[in-house]
């Protein structure tokens, strides 16, 4: 293990702001005993509310956490506090040659687990392939940076005169460099600059975000695992699902808030937004199928899945996979709702964690639908959000009848795309 981590890198692992705060206040040696660390492990015992102190161990390589406390959060505040003390480097967590028994036992158990299946290529070949991919991506992103520089040097005023192949060619190069996520964004800009009235602002904002991805890639060694996850999503470097399933898990009662399907000429995609009753986390299940294919049967809107999810590395709201078969019950409307301003605050917090986010979940409480050239929703404070232009407001008006309703939707580019509305405790798809 190389240098000690920074405090920021530790806190980036926190599942939510509450855990980060709790971890900070717990990161004082007074509550702790048996603290120690070696090259790969950090361990300690923390006196909590139970009689026996919790045994806390962190494997720095992944990183992986283990704590005997009953918290559903992962990592829990104890694991984070332990890392904070270790990161501070003030000597409270000593460098030791031998790990405490409980820590060593867990490490052995982990080492004994079959991490590699028989028949899988040897690690050397894998590392070589990985290095090849990374250098291919680096070369592609370097070229993309030069393309961005040319654009800015010559001025954006001219891009509307460019043929569609201008964008297609840049996108195709990114695909060749195994950066398909960024390629997709570039390709869709080809039509956006012609369709949007605010195309110049839109383009400049996105150029900034693309450039940020290039810079982040170059500085990836210093990125937190969450930011690295976000970056991989933007670039389109997918994670294998077995890799995700072997990682962090979160158990909760997950309410199905909204479903959305999108289709373009290549791809069918389906997003299922879930909300954890205890963790308060909003997460998203993504399913893809080639155009013309068929998607996995969606979960029933308004149902509650009791079970474990595997989390993709990244910032909130996180992408997840279903780990195992959850039990399903029926929910009652939307579990939590916000005012418009509170929802915007939350959106901003999420955007601060992941600058590339462009689709944010919003659960709005007691909003009234006002039809017009632009249909708006007004909350009890009189704050409004505007609905997406393409959205047909009449079914929503019929369902609400002018009464305030709870509504879930996706916030994209300062407009809300409604997904579902709660009427008499029933969630109805829009």
């Amino acid at each position: 293990m190389g240098a000690r981590w920074t405090e920021a890198r530790v806190l980036a692992l926190a599942p939510d702001a509450g855990s980060a705060r709790a971890a900070r206040s717990l990161a004082r040696p007074g509550r702790w005993s048996d603290l120690g660390s070696n090259d790969s492990l950090v361990w300690g015992k923390c006196q909590g509310s139970a009689r026996d102190p919790y045994q806390v161990t962190v494997d720095l390589n992944e990183p992986a956490f283990r704590c005997t406390c009953p918290s559903r959060k992962h990592p829990c505040k104890h694991g984070l506090a332990l890392l904070l003390m270790w990161a501070a480097g003030d000597g409270s967590v000593a460098d030791l040659d031998t790990a405490a028994d409980f820590a060593a036992a867990w490490a052995d158990e982990r080492a004994a687990r079959p991490t590699r299946r028989a028949g899988e290529p040897d690690p050397e070949a894998r590392a070589k392939r990985l290095a090849e991919r990374e250098s291919l991506m680096t070369a592609g992103l370097d070229e993309f940076e030069r393309w961005l520089f040319d654009l800015v040097r010559q001025g954006l005023a001219g891009v509307r005169g460019q043929p569609y192949t201008f964008w297609e060619t840049a996108a195709a190069r990114l695909v060749d460099a195994q950066v398909p996520g960024l390629a997709e964004r570039v390709r869709s800009m080809g039509s956006a600059v012609h369709v949007r009235a605010d195309w110049a602002q839109h383009l400049l904002t996105h150029l900034g975000r693309w450039y940020l991805a290039v810079r982040a890639w170059r500085g990836r060694a210093g990125l937190s695992p969450a930011s690295m996850g976000d970056l991989r999503t933007v670039l389109g470097w997918p994670r294998r699902s077995d890799e995700v399933l072997a990682g962090e898990r979160l158990r909760d009662r997950w309410w199905v808030l909204g479903l959305r399907q999108d289709e373009d000429e290549r791809l069918l995609s389906q997003r299922t937004w879930l909300h954890g009753e205890h963790t308060g986390e909003t997460v998203v299940l993504l399913d893809f199928a080639a155009a013309g294919g068929s998607l996995r049967v969606p979960h029933v809107l308004g149902s509650v899945l009791d079970g474990e999810l595997a989390l993709y590395p990244g910032s909130a709201p996180r992408r997840v996979l279903l780990a195992g078969d959850p039990t399903t019950t029926v929910g009652d409307g939307l579990p939590v709702t916000d005012t418009v301003l509170a929802a915007l605050d939350l959106a901003t917090t999420w955007q601060a964690g992941n600058p590339w986010l462009d689709r944010l979940p919003m659960s709005l409480g007691a909003v009234t639908v006002i039809p017009g050239d632009d249909t708006v929703l007004v909350d009890r404070d009189g704050t409004t959000v505007t609905l997406e232009r393409e959205f047909d407001p009449w079914p929503l008006l019929a369902l609400s009848g002018g009464h305030p309703v709870d509504l879930f939707g996706e916030w994209i580019g300062q407009r809300l795309h409604p997904c579902s509305v709660a009427v008499d405790g029933e969630l109805i798809s829009l």
């Binding site: 961005l148 520089f149 800015v152 040097r153 010559q154 001025g155 954006l156 005023a157 110049a200 602002q201 400049l204 904002t205 996105h206 150029l207 900034g208 975000r209 450039y211 940020l212 810079r215 418009v340 301003l341 915007l344 901003t348 955007q351 601060a352 600058p355 009234t368 006002i370 039809p371 017009g372 708006v376 007004v378 009189g382 704050t383 409004t384 959000v385 505007t386 009449w394 079914p395 008006l397 019929a398 369902l399 009848g401 002018g402 009464h403 300062q414 009427v423 109805i428």
Partner: protein, 459 residues
């Protein structure tokens, strides 16, 4: 910060314009080499900054009163699904989905239930295009439908009009809008609507005056008689004809009394006097009758009906035609029954109560085109026993045409218990009789859906 300055440089190009020094003032500093990298880095920072700091614009509108409560219970999910499939045309029925949608709406109304709110929009859109369903849709859509219709001009036909509101809209609209306002008001406040007509009557062109008289046909009553009587002196012949057509339906009118005088002896008149012409009698020939007989037919058609004669079969044909016209206009059931017994026609059968109409059809001995015409006119829904009997009779017919001619009525009115009879007919129809098999399958399909509808609405 200076987003506009940044955008300006980016638009023109760093090759031609330097980046203003204050672009990132008060926000952040970026480390970037060269002007292009600096512009892009600044765009990343300011883009995020602007997005995060965005607040919704102030809203100065007013929240409208919500829809009134609908006390009717919502229909079953299965019933709602059938309606949704029919309206969205995910299932298609030979002879048109509208038929079954109409049946759904009528059955739902009889059961005192309502469709779920989410389907109200589908119904309003459907009936905007298919005028024939408007009355049923407006009734079934309830307060939620009214509330929606008041918000969407293309659904104005489904919005009841308040008298105060109507005056304003009647004064300023196009003719189509004024007609919609007037029709809607006429449903709830016939006198108010008539007063509205009278308020602008003198200034309206002839075509509009005639159209306004036509609208008074909605909810027509003796209260409209004085106004209609006065319009018989209108300078435009179209207006006079429209008024006469409405007065034909009011046997207690002054005009009807004058007609009664004219037809006392049931003889065709020698000549028409000016007063008869004022009452709208013309030289138009009735089909198959001479000039004088045609006058008598028109006079009888507009005169009050007396007691039904014991034997209608001895009466002159033109007299029967005139009485039939009057009986249809005045909806006189005693007369209609008697006329149907003597000389059944589709028009008369259609105006009869179901039981009487069925009796007329049952009396017909031959299954031919005439029979099909009467059957098609026979109002429904038909009772189970009659329905099965009809299927068996049609099946035994020598000609193909009767089934095709009566198809729409069969699909609309047959009791669903006739389904086995239809299915057995399909089984026994040779495969080469494609057209008949297709017709019968369409019929079976419609009956299956009707069966579901009936099961889902307890009566």
């Amino acid at each position: 910060m200076n987003w506009e300055g940044l955008l300006g440089t980016a638009m023109v190009g760093t090759g031609r314009r330097d980046l203003p020094a204050d672009v990132l003032d008060g926000v952040a500093t970026v480390s970037a080499e060269g002007p292009e990298a600096t512009v892009l880095a600044a765009a990343a920072v300011l883009g995020a900054y602007r997005r995060a700091g965005w607040t919704p614009p102030a809203w100065g509108g007013e929240v409208v009163e919500p829809a009134a409560r609908d006390e009717r219970p919502v229909c079953s999910p299965a019933a709602a699904q059938v309606l949704e499939l029919l309206v969205s045309r995910d299932i298609r029925v030979e002879g048109g989905n509208e038929l079954l949608i109409g049946h759904w709406l009528a059955t739902c109304a009889r059961a005192g239930q309502r469709p779920p709110a989410r389907l109200v929009v589908l119904l309003l859109r459907l009936a905007t295009a298919t005028r024939g369903l408007r009355d049923e849709v407006a009734a079934i859509a309830g307060p939620r439908g009214e509330w929606l219709a008041r918000r969407n001009p293309s659904w104005a036909w489904a919005a009841p009009v308040a008298a105060t509101d109507a005056k304003e809209r009647f004064a300023t609209g196009t003719w189509a809008q004024r007609q919609a306002v007037l029709t809607a008001l006429r449903r709830t406040d016939p006198a108010g609507a008539r007063a509205l007509v009278e308020s602008t009557w003198e200034q309206e062109p002839a075509a509009t005056r005639a159209g306004m008289v036509d609208v008074l046909g909605v909810n027509l009553s003796d209260e409209d008689e004085p106004f209609l009587e006065s319009t018989l002196d209108d300078r435009a012949v179209t207006v006079r004809a429209a008024a006469a057509a409405l007065l034909d339906r009011l046997p207690r009118s002054r005009r009807a009394a004058r007609m009664a005088q004219r037809v006392r002896d049931l003889e065709p008149p020698e000549e028409l006097d000016a007063s008869a012409r004022r009452d709208g009698i013309t030289d138009q020939r009735e089909h198959g009758h001479g000039r004088r007989a045609s006058w008598l037919i028109q006079l009888l058609g507009a005169a009050p009906l007396g007691p039904v004669p014991d034997d209608l079969s001895t009466a002159d044909s033109w007299v029967v035609v005139g009485w039939t016209m009057a009986a249809l206009r005045q909806r006189d059931e005693r007369w209609l029954v008697a006329l149907a017994r003597a000389r059944p026609t589709p028009e008369v059968v259609a105006a009869l109560p179901t039981a009487e109409a069925i009796a007329v059809v049952d009396r017909e001995s031959t299954v031919d085109a005439r029979f099909a015409g009467l059957l098609a006119a026979c109002p429904g829904p038909w009772p189970a026993e009659f329905s099965t009997r009809i299927v068996v009779r049609l099946r035994g017919a020598r000609t193909e045409g009767a089934l095709t001619l009566a198809f729409a009525a069969l699909a609309r009115n047959l009791h669903h218990t006739a389904l086995p009879a239809v299915e057995s007919w399909i089984e026994d129809t040779p495969p080469d009789k494609r057209a008949r098999r297709r017709t019968l399958r369409g019929l079976a399909h419609a009956l299956t859906i009707r069966q579901t509808i009936e099961q889902e609405f307890p009566l």
